[in-house]
Symmetry: none
Subunit: 239 residues, 2 copies
DNA sequence: CGACCAGTGTGGTCTGACCACACGTGCTAG
DNA sequence: CTAGCACGTGTGGTCAGACCACACTGGTCG
């Protein structure tokens, strides 16, 4: 079975080893050639996976070892692989429907909680400044479709950050590339994406307004409709 | 220059282009072969750099393009390096409160959706077998606290898997170590963790029963109470 | 005019081949 | 016998070439 994304198999293999505690800091991985043979992928793919792990700080490579040991050293402990890393790695591989459904759940909850917190306690100040700035930036008529979507993704991320929930923020940041992927693909197939972006802008402001008005149920509903509506509209044109 | 780390030169090249604003979201990078020739490195090194950028969410690759366009799409704007910084920050663990709040949101939604799907359509069979088996396994009186909590974590994960949502499953799997961490710490401080585990078992069965009864609101509420209740009980003993 | 079908170029992968370096071994010089 | 050094071996780092599946293009044929 020719798996596209062969390097993912390597990544998942090492990742599972890490999670199940089979690898401890200081341990050495099998050599690149050994991993290649063991997993049935080319050394190129192994190297791409190792490069990712190295940039993520989970691994350290050192050249020219003796014949006794392998070649690579694990730098972080087994429980260290954060959710964000795993998501980031797998993001582009998730089914679009699952990404959308998760966004619906998480973002609706975030919007509702922001509204509730803003209405309940004035002690904890909620900073919607970043969201406001992105809202204004999206009004620029000179934006390309891709640039608009990048700002759109940042806007949704800004709301998550405003909630202060690091897990949700990290999750959405991890999903971002996957989100922008299907969003861009969908928008490109629309006849006039400017009309759609106009509607999206309005919905964005509606969400923020509902949050500011401390109307939790409205914030939840608007967020839900915003995401599901866009997804429904663009997926029509996918075929 | 240093001939080792050729892929870094590619990374730095694209990175600087990103920072100086020469690349906007939606732009396409030259093809891998073109980059290879332009920078004087092999295509392997170019691919390793692109893989890193992809995992960092700065780039998206798509196969098989026509001759008009390049090959890769920039996904993030000039603030590019923030993605890497976010990664590093998140590598260290999340606040327990954030993990719990996210669990409340995600697992309640999962339980509700399972109940709805089970009631609505019999076409898509929902497999609760894994959850049932874990439920039975948790009844064993010979379990240690740690073993019980491991089964508990697997049970909650099994529900997510039953929903079929890969994103949620991956997220919860990523949070698992953090979950078991605070759970074990909390349970260890209880005088008689067996009494607590007895209650948890009952709540588990109540959740599954609600799902089987296609009672979505009950499934949601029971899940919410189960998680928040446990967290509230154990956090009392944290100080 | 529309449907179809080769041509072309892309990313994705594998293989084989070098290089520089680190290590172990074992020989040699003292 | 010991200290020192040269050599062989295996590693990661890199490159070049080849193939595949796919997407897009542009022409041809109905």
């Amino acid at each position: 079975m020719s798996e596209t994304r062969a390097w993912r198999t390597v990544l998942e293999h090492i990742e599972s080893r890490l999670i199940e505690g089979a690898l401890h800091p200081g341990d050495r991985l099998p050599g690149e050639r050994a991993l290649s043979a063991e997993l049935g992928v080319g050394r190129s793919s192994v190297r791409e996976a190792l490069r990712v792990l190295e940039v993520l700080g989970l691994i350290r490579t050192q050249a020219g070892s003796g014949p006794n040991a392998g070649a690579i050293i694990i730098a972080t402990p087994g429980g260290g692989m954060s959710a964000l890393m795993r998501l980031q790695v797998a993001a582009s591989g998730f089914p679009v429907a699952d990404i959308v459904r998760t966004r619906l759940i998480l973002e609706s909850a975030v919007a509702g909680e922001l509204a509730e917190r803003l209405g309940r306690e004035a002690s904890e100040p909620i900073d919607l400044g970043a969201a406001d700035r992105l809202l204004d930036a999206m009004d620029s008529p000179a934006l390309s479709a891709a640039e608009f979507l990048a700002l759109d993704a940042e806007f949704h991320l800004a709301l998550a950050e405003a909630s202060g929930n690091q897990v949700i923020t990290a999750t959405m940041a991890g999903l971002r590339s996957g989100i922008e992927g299907y969003a861009l693909e969908g928008l490109a197939h629309l006849d006039d994406w400017r009309a759609t972006s106009q509607r999206l802008r309005g919905e964005h402001r509606g969400i923020v307004a509902a949050i500011r008005a401390a109307d939790a149920s409205s914030a939840r509903a608007r967020t839900h409709d915003h995401i599901s509506g866009y997804y429904a509209e663009t997926s029509i044109h996918h075929h």
